[in-house]
C-alpha cells in the first residue's frame, strides 16, 4: 500500500536525519582511520558533530549579500535533492525516499547544481582565494564529469533505463549480477571520477587546506559554515548511496547499506593516504586521459 503524503514526508525527514548522522560519523571515522595511518591517535569520531554545534553557536556572523547567503542553501538543496531521489534501501518504506519520482538525470543534475550554487555564493564573498578555489573546483569538476557521464551512459545503455530503482532491481539475485561484474569498465571509470568528486587526495587541491585557505568557503562562517558542514555529510551519504545503487547491487536492509557505503568511501582513504596531491592541471589531464578512455570503452562495449 502506498503511504499517504504526510507520512511520506515524515519518512523523508527520518531518512534524511539518518543519512546526516551516518554521514557525519563516516567523516569522523575516516578522519580517525587516516590518523591511524599517519601514526596518530586522531580526533574523536564525533568531532564533526561538535564542530557543527560550535559553528552554529557563534555569536555573530556576517553576510556579503543575498547570493552569499543563498550559496550554502543551494549547496544543501543539492545534497538533499541528490539523496531524496535515490532509494537508500531497496523495498524499505522509510528509506526508499522519492526514488520513483525522479531518474538518474535528475540526480546528476542535483549533484552539480549544488556546486554551481556554491560557486555563485562564494564569488559574492569577494575574497580572491574564494575565486581561485571556485575556478579550481569547476575546472576539476568539468574534468571528472567526463568519465562519470560516460560511465552513466554505459550503464543506461546496459540496463536500457535511467530509472535508478529499475537499475537496482536488475542487479538483485547474487553478487555476480552487480554492475561491478557485468560492466567492470564503467565501474572503474566511475570510481576514479568518485575520487575527484570526494575531494580527498590526490584531488584535494580545491579545498587545499593550507595554501588556498579552505577553497570556495573561505568567507563562510558561523551558521552558514554549519550548514555547509551538514551538507557535506548529506552529500557524501547521497553520493555513496547512489554509487552503491548503480554499481554495487544496492541494499535491501540498513546494515548492508552501511557496510557497502563504508567500503565505497574507504576507497577514497585508501587512495588518498597512498598518493600525494595533483595540481589542477595535472588532475584535469589525468581525468581526460585513461579514465575517459575506459569510459569510452565501456560505452562502446555496450552500445555495439
Amino acid at each position: 500500500m502506498e503511504p499517504s503524503i504526510p507520512l511520506r514526508i515524515a519518512y523523508a525527514f527520518a531518512s534524511l536525519a539518518v543519512i546526516t548522522v551516518y554521514g557525519l560519523l563516516l567523516i569522523g571515522s575516516m578522519a580517525r582511520i587516516s590518523a591511524k595511518v599517519q601514526g596518530r591517535v586522531g580526533q574523536p569520531v564525533w568531532q564533526p558533530f561538535i564542530d557543527i554545534v560550535k559553528s552554529s553557536g557563534k555569536r555573530n556572523s556576517i553576510s556579503h549579500g543575498v547570493m552569499f547567503w543563498l550559496g550554502p542553501v543551494f549547496r544543501l538543496a543539492g545534497g538533499v535533492g541528490t539523496y531524496m531521489f535515490v532509494p537508500a534501501v531497496l523495498g524499505s518504506v522509510v528509506f526508499q525516499n522519492f526514488s520513483m519520482s525522479g531518474d538518474l538525470l535528475l540526480v546528476m543534475y542535483f549533484i552539480f547544481f549544488g556546486q554551481l550554487g556554491m560557486a555563485l555564493g562564494a564569488s559574492e564573498g569577494g575574497h580572491p582565494y574564494s575565486a581561485i578555489g571556485v575556478s579550481r573546483g569547476l575546472a576539476q569538476m568539468t574534468a571528472f564529469e567526463v568519465p562519470f557521464a560516460l560511465s552513466i551512459i554505459s550503464i543506461a545503455v546496459q540496463y536500457g533505463t535511467l530509472d535508478i530503482t529499475k537499475i537496482v532491481m536488475a542487479q538483485q539475485g547474487g553478487f555476480l549480477n552487480w554492475t561491478l561484474f557485468t560492466n567492470p569498465l564503467a565501474v572503474v571509470a566511475a570510481m576514479i571520477a568518485f575520487l575527484g568528486m570526494s575531494g580527498h587526495n590526490p584531488f584535494s587541491v580545491v579545498i587545499a587546506p593550507q595554501e588556498i585557505p579552505i577553497g570556495p568557503p573561505t568567507e563562510y562562517q558561523s551558521n552558514l559554515l554549519g550548514m555547509l558542514q551538514t551538507n557535506r555529510a548529506v552529500f557524501n551519504g547521497a553520493k555513496l548511496v547512489l554509487y552503491m545503487n548503480l554499481f554495487f547491487g544496492g541494499a535491501t536492509n540498513v546494515p548492508v547499506m552501511v557496510v557497502k557505503t563504508f567500503l565505497i568511501y574507504f576507497v577514497n582513504i585508501f587512495v588518498g593516504q597512498a598518493f600525494p596531491r595533483f595540481r589542477t592541471d595535472q588532475a584535469i589531464r589525468f581525468f581526460l586521459g585513461v579514465p575517459t578512455l575506459i569510459g569510452i570503452a565501456a560505452v562502446v562495449l555496450f552500445a555495439f
Binding site: 574523536p44 560550535k54 555569536r59 555573530n60
Partner: protein, 230 residues
C-alpha cells in the same frame, strides 16, 4: 585593564605622530573613521563599532561553551619565531587533533588566534585586522615571553611589548620558546577557561574598543586601513 607600564608607546603618549583627523589621547572618544583609505574604497568597509554580544548564561550557553572548548580552530598565522613550535603539534608525536584542535587558514572560521611570539608593528597591523575579522566568541593564546613583556625584543625599535594592550589575551604561555608540551598545556588551560565561561575576549574588545584602538594607532603610524575591519 592591565597596569603594565613599560610599553614605551604607552608611557610616552606623544610617541606617535598623529595625522590630521586622528583620535586624541587616551580616553577621549574616538570617531570611527576610514580616512586612511582612498575615497573609492571607503564604502567597501564597515563603518560601525563592534557590538558586544554576551556574555550569556544558562544551560545552553554551558553546552555551547563545552562545544567551543572541544573544537578549537587555530588561525594559521605564524607571527613570531614561536610559531615554529605550532607545527610539531600536528605531527604524530603531539597530535593536537585528539583534543579537537585543528588549524584553519581563514580568520572567518577559526576561533583561536595564536600569537606566535614577538609582533613587529607591521605584523601588529595584520594581527588587528585578522582578529577583528574573526567571529566571536574568539580566543587568543599568546606564546613566548615576547608577547608578555617584549622578551628579548624589549627595547627593539620595531616590536610591541605587551600584546594585551592591542588585543585581549586569554592564555599566556611563558618560555622562549615554549615547547610543544607547554603549548598543549596552554590549550588545555584555554579549554578549561572556556568551559568556565571566562573567555569573553570579544566582549572585552568591544567594550573597551576606544582604548584598544588608541593603543593600536599609537604604534601603527601608517594607518591605511579601516578603523574596524569587520
Amino acid at each position: 585593564m592591565s597596569d603594565i607600564k613599560f610599553t614605551r608607546a604607552l608611557a610616552d603618549p606623544d610617541h606617535a605622530l598623529k595625522p590630521a583627523g586622528r583620535p586624541g589621547p587616551l580616553g577621549k572618544p574616538l570617531v570611527l573613521a576610514n580616512d586612511g583609505l582612498p575615497e573609492e574604497e571607503k564604502a567597501w568597509f564597515c563603518d560601525a563599532y563592534p557590538t558586544a554580544s554576551g556574555p550569556y548564561k544558562g544551560i545552553l550557553e554551558n553546552f555551547l561553551n563545552w562545544a567551543r572548548s572541544k573544537s578549537l580552530w587555530i588561525l594559521g598565522f605564524g607571527t613570531g619565531c614561536g610559531a615554529i613550535e605550532l607545527r610539531p603539534l600536528m605531527t604524530s608525536r603531539f597530535d593536537m587533533y585528539r583534543f579537537g584542535i585543528q588549524p584553519r587558514p581563514t580568520p572567518r572560521q577559526s576561533s583561536v588566534f595564536v600569537i606566535g611570539g614577538y609582533a613587529s608593528v607591521k605584523t601588529l597591523k595584520r594581527i588587528v585586522r585578522s582578529y577583528e575579522q574573526m567571529m566571536g566568541p574568539k580566543f587568543v593564546v599568546a606564546l613566548g615571553s615576547c608577547t608578555i613583556n617584549g622578551g628579548m625584543y624589549w627595547d627593539s625599535y620595531n616590536t610591541i611589548n605587551a600584546i594585551e594592550h592591542y588585543i585581549p589575551v586569554d592564555v599566556y604561555i611563558a618560555g622562549c620558546m615554549p615547547r610543544p608540551e607547554a603549548l598543549l598545556a596552554g590549550f588545555k588551560e584555554l579549554q578549561r577557561k572556556i568551559r568556565r565561561g571566562e573567555c569573553e575576549g570579544a566582549v572585552k574588545y568591544a567594550e573597551n574598543f576606544e582604548w584598544y584602538k588608541a593603543n593600536q594607532k599609537k604604534v601603527i603610524h601608517d594607518w591605511n586601513m579601516p578603523d574596524y575591519n569587520y
